[in-house]
């Protein structure tokens, strides 16, 4: 974790805070569709220090997965980065050629996808898939490949006999863990995870989260973890970003966001979860549904669903205000701190 969390999150200019490994600046992604342009990610900025764990939460269609893909340079048409930069270890990833990206992928940056069933090749053994990634980075020795593959598999708690297994012979949890093992082959600096636990049930989910955290502490890589279930990252992430309709609604230390959420959307999300313990209270969730990103309302994007909506919210979009080291995009906090964007 950075020593002054929350500060410098939006600092621009050449002075990079020490330890910052990833700087995302004003990143925008559009989908160019027949019915018009859909602005899926709108000027998102954040920093990630080495070894830091950031959770990104939001509903389906809020742009969280698109943001991840944009950071990893995995977008395919009709999606396109239309602005901003992704500085990873001092190098702007936006605009790199496929060859340049190939030298970074797996080695410095790995991605763990949502569905391991679809991410693993069904007709190749686990070892063959690990070997592919290693050969792409110049590891040719069979013995070395076998040794490293067994080592990473052991790291995630799978017996190396499964190197010879095919994906269908593994359970869902084991498949997801072997994806994580594959991401560890070169001990990257950054691992990007897109809902890696969503296909698992609670017991396997908890076991996987604990394992990710243990590996992270041992190997020191940074994690960007995207999920729709914010309770999942409560105890594992250092910072939490809440996204709504393509923009950052709130961003701050995970504990603080949970303790005292500021944005009405964050508050609504917290109260949408029934609890397994404590008193049973009737909940309402958040009425309505997110806006169509092809027809973004002129004011605050959350205004149509917001219980605290004011006249101003429907007229102009709120800026991101910095309040006590937290960023929040809501006019309710406009007078409490300086604004960005």
């Amino acid at each position: 974790m950075s020593s002054a969390p929350g500060e410098g999150v939006l600092s621009t200019g050449p002075a990079t805070p020490t330890g910052t490994m990833l700087e995302v600046r004003d990143l925008s992604v559009e989908y160019l569709l027949e019915r018009g342009t859909v602005l899926a990610v709108d000027r998102v900025s954040f920093d990630l220090a080495a070894g830091e764990f950031v959770g990104i939460v939001g509903e389906s269609g809020c742009g969280k997965s698109t943001l991840l893909f944009a950071i990893a340079q995995l977008l395919a048409p009709p999606a396109e980065i239309t602005g901003g930069s992704v500085i990873f270890k001092g190098r702007n990833m936006v605009g790199l050629t496929e060859n340049e990206l190939a030298s970074i992928r797996w080695k410095d940056l790995s991605v763990v996808m949502q569905s391991a069933m679809n991410a693993l090749n069904p007709v190749k053994s686990i070892l063959a898939q690990f070997a592919d990634a290693m050969r792409a980075h110049g590891v040719a020795s069979k013995a070395e490949i076998a040794e490293r593959s067994a080592e990473v598999l052991r790291m995630v708690g799978i017996d190396p006999v499964h190197l010879k297994s095919y994906p269908h012979q593994l359970s869902g949890g084991m498949r997801q863990r072997s994806m994580i093992a594959m991401a560890m082959l070169f001990t990257p600096d950054l691992v990007i995870m897109d809902e890696p636990t969503s296909a698992l049930d609670v017991v396997a989910q908890r076991s996987l989260m604990v394992q990710i955290k243990e590996l992270q502490e041992k190997l020191g890589f940074a994690v960007i973890f995207v999920t729709h279930d914010m309770s999942l990252v409560r105890h594992f992430s250092d910072r939490l970003m809440v996204m709504y309709a393509g923009v950052v609604a709130e961003y701050g230390l995970t504990g603080e966001v949970f303790e005292s959420p500021m944005h009405p959307y964050s508050i609504g999300l917290m109260e949408a979860f029934p609890s397994i313990r404590g008193p049973r209270v009737p909940l309402t969730g958040i009425p309505g549904s997110p806006p169509d990103l092809a027809r973004i309302p002129p004011g605050c994007r959350f205004a149509p669903r917001c219980p605290k909506v004011m006249a101003r919210c429907e007229a102009e979009p709120p800026a991101l205000y910095q309040v006590n080291g937290r960023l929040v995009r809501c006019f309710l906090h406009a007078d409490e701190g300086p604004s960005h964007d």
Partner: protein
């Protein structure tokens, strides 16, 4: 936590602030026969080639009851047999052994198009995926009108229309007349799932089978649908069999909770009873794994890395024994029967006692 006073009125449930009606099973008919009851319900699937003849026991010797005006939640890990039970109750599968009784009538005796149609009207199903379960080329009125024509042929066209508007309003799709004329793509996921419940309700059902009805929806709208389910029970008198892997949502809406493991019932009791006094070690494992942002992370929490077994040609013995820290000799070779430990609270465990808490996972 939620300030109850700030909540708009209309949240169903009794005034004590709980949504589940949490009573004893109300309204079983005078004969004591519950709305639906299963006895030794078993379904096996043949797997492998013709030579190997292995059988997968998806559901094995399950006895459960669903009373009137009751929401019963069935929870368990994926592969535990939850959906197979739903399909057996929906008469989509035939049981390999055992019987299902609906209002006292064995399902095996419900035969012929007219009888089956009537059963499907009494016990409709709501599916998991609201994006795949509505025909995209017709307005949403199309499906519900066809339901009404088929299941309630006595209604005139005007009555059908009025009934469609009534059930749409009942699930919160308002203005009903307008929503009926929309196409599925014009509705959000939450609204589509409400259409699913409205269609089920149009048949004047006794019991709705809901297989993971909210798991595909965003968290902010799940609660709305759970509230619809509670309201259907309270104002329409419908029972709901709610299949889920989310214990917190089961707690929010269900009167009784049944926990399944590897095709068998592990524990069954009123919801709060299961959650506050779990007797089966597996229930404790499940509960300990639910992420709870309001509680601190248990440091050094026992992390179970085992996995549920595939139940292929099972031999006697408890199916949880490989993962159970409390397993004794008996568990290795005697299948524990579902025993009633306390009134209304049963568990299938040799070790569980009525008077003492089980301490397997915390």
């Amino acid at each position: 936590m939620t300030d109850a006073a700030a909540q708009p009125d209309g949240t169903p449930g009794p005034a004590d602030g709980t949504v589940a009606s949490n009573g004893a099973r109300a309204g079983d008919d005078a004969s004591g026969e519950p709305l639906l009851r299963t006895e030794g319900l078993t379904r096996v699937f043949k797997i492998g080639s013709a030579m190997s003849r292995a059988t997968l026991h998806a559901v094995d010797d399950v006895a459960l009851t669903i009373g009137e005006r009751e929401i019963v939640a069935l929870a368990g890990e994926s592969g535990s047999g939850k959906s197979t039970i739903a399909r057996l109750l929906a008469k989509l599968y035939k049981p390999t052994a055992g019987e299902i009784y609906f209002q006292g009538t064995p399902l095996s005796q419900i035969r012929g198009r007219r009888q089956v149609l009537r059963y499907r009207g009494d016990v409709p199903m709501v599916f998991q995926d609201p994006f795949a379960s509505i025909n995209p080329v017709f307005r949403v009125s199309h499906g519900i009108m066809r339901c009404l024509k088929l299941h309630r042929p006595e209604l005139s066209a005007a009555q059908r229309r009025a009934e469609a508007e009534r059930v749409f309003a009942a699930v919160g799709l308002t203005p009903a007349a307008e929503v009926l004329e929309r196409f599925p793509h014009e509705l959000s996921g939450g609204q589509r799932q409400r259409v699913g419940f409205a269609q089920a309700l149009a048949m004047r059902p006794k019991l709705i089978l809901a297989d993971e009805p909210v798991s595909m929806l965003d968290v902010s709208i799940r609660i709305g649908l759970l509230n619809v389910m509670a309201d259907l029970r309270d104002s329409q008198g419908v029972s709901i069999f709610y299949i889920t892997h989310d214990l917190a949502s089961a707690r929010y809406v269900a009167d009784r909770l049944i926990i399944m493991y590897a095709g068998q019932i592990a524990e069954s009791a009123p919801t709060e009873e299961v959650l506050t006094r779990p007797r089966h070690p597996y229930t404790q494992l499940l509960l300990s794994a639910v992420p709870d942002p309001r509680a601190p992370l248990k440091v050094g929490a026992e992390t179970d890395r085992g996995e549920p077994p595939k139940v292929i040609d099972p031999t006697p013995g408890c199916r949880f024994r490989w993962r159970c820290p409390l397993a004794i000799d008996e568990c290795q070779h005697v299948t524990p029967p579902l025993r009633e430990l306390l009134p209304g609270h049963s568990a299938a465990c040799h070790v569980a006692r009525a008077d003492a808490a089980t301490e397997a996972f915390r």
